[in-house]
């Protein structure tokens, strides 16, 4: 993939997910980690935006961060794939660059 974008803050608290989704190009990947995984819960106000973006970008959420916040696999929006730290490393290695939205 061209760019792996990482977002680590809750989209309810900060604008970093919104700003990232607006600038991620088709074919890019977006990884939600730390508090950002909160946006990937089914029924969250950001579930729709993530599902829509998933039409052109691959969206991932870090499984250990989901688990820490009590979000089970079946609670995650279907358009979002879960990865562990090893999968995060693979995504970073496969991308041409990694862009952190801090």
């Amino acid at each position: 993939m061209p760019t792996l974008h990482t977002v680590n803050k809750s989209p309810f608290e900060r604008n970093s997910l919104a700003t990232c989704l607006e600038r991620a190009a088709g074919g890019d990947g977006v990884l939600l980690c730390e508090d950002a995984v909160i946006g990937a819960r089914k029924g969250s106000a950001f579930a729709k935006a993530l599902a829509e973006k998933a039409a052109t970008c691959a969206i991932y959420a870090l499984a250990p961060d989901l688990a820490a916040r009590g979000i089970k696999g079946e609670d995650v929006v279907e358009a979002v794939k879960t990865v562990d730290y090893s999968g995060f490393v693979d995504l970073a290695a496969d991308a041409d660059r990694v862009c952190a939205w801090l």
Binding site: T6, N8, Y85, A93, A95
Partner: protein, 130 residues
């Protein structure tokens, strides 16, 4: 593949240092090389040996020092950021007229050029922060 990692937040207050450590560990486990871990902004606060976290919690400074010892990691603390935040090694303490130092084993203090060099030398640079 050769990674560089940037850590922009101190231990505990934000998850950045934990995430960076987990990423580094996973990358090493997959056989990747880590060219350098660069600690910038409040990230320099990971490098103090004066921390005493609760016994039942992780000790991030020790986790970094141990990972560095095991894999010969280059843990670089930005000197300008360290000066603002009170992280000193013996040389810096002497140079600044301070009566002690607090840097932890496995970390070294150096300039911002080390961050640029990491960007040049590494295949991928991954940043963790607030």
């Amino acid at each position: 593949m050769r990674f560089a990692i940037v850590v922009n937040e101190g231990p505990y207050t934000h998850q950045a240092s934990d995430s960076a450590w987990q990423f580094a560990k996973a990358a090493l486990a997959k056989g990747h090389e880590i060219f350098r871990v660069f600690f910038y902004h409040d990230g320099v606060n990971n490098a103090t040996r004066y921390t005493v976290p609760p016994q039942d919690d992780r000790n991030l400074q020790k986790l970094w020092s141990e990972l560095a010892a095991e894999h010969e990691l280059d843990l670089v603390v930005c000197i300008a950021a360290a000066q603002r935040r009170g992280i000193l090694d013996a040389d810096e303490a002497k140079r600044q007229g301070k009566d002690g130092d607090n840097i932890a084993p496995g970390f070294r203090i150096s300039g911002l050029g080390q961050l640029i060099e990491a960007g040049i030398q590494a295949d991928r640079l991954v940043t963790f922060g607030d």
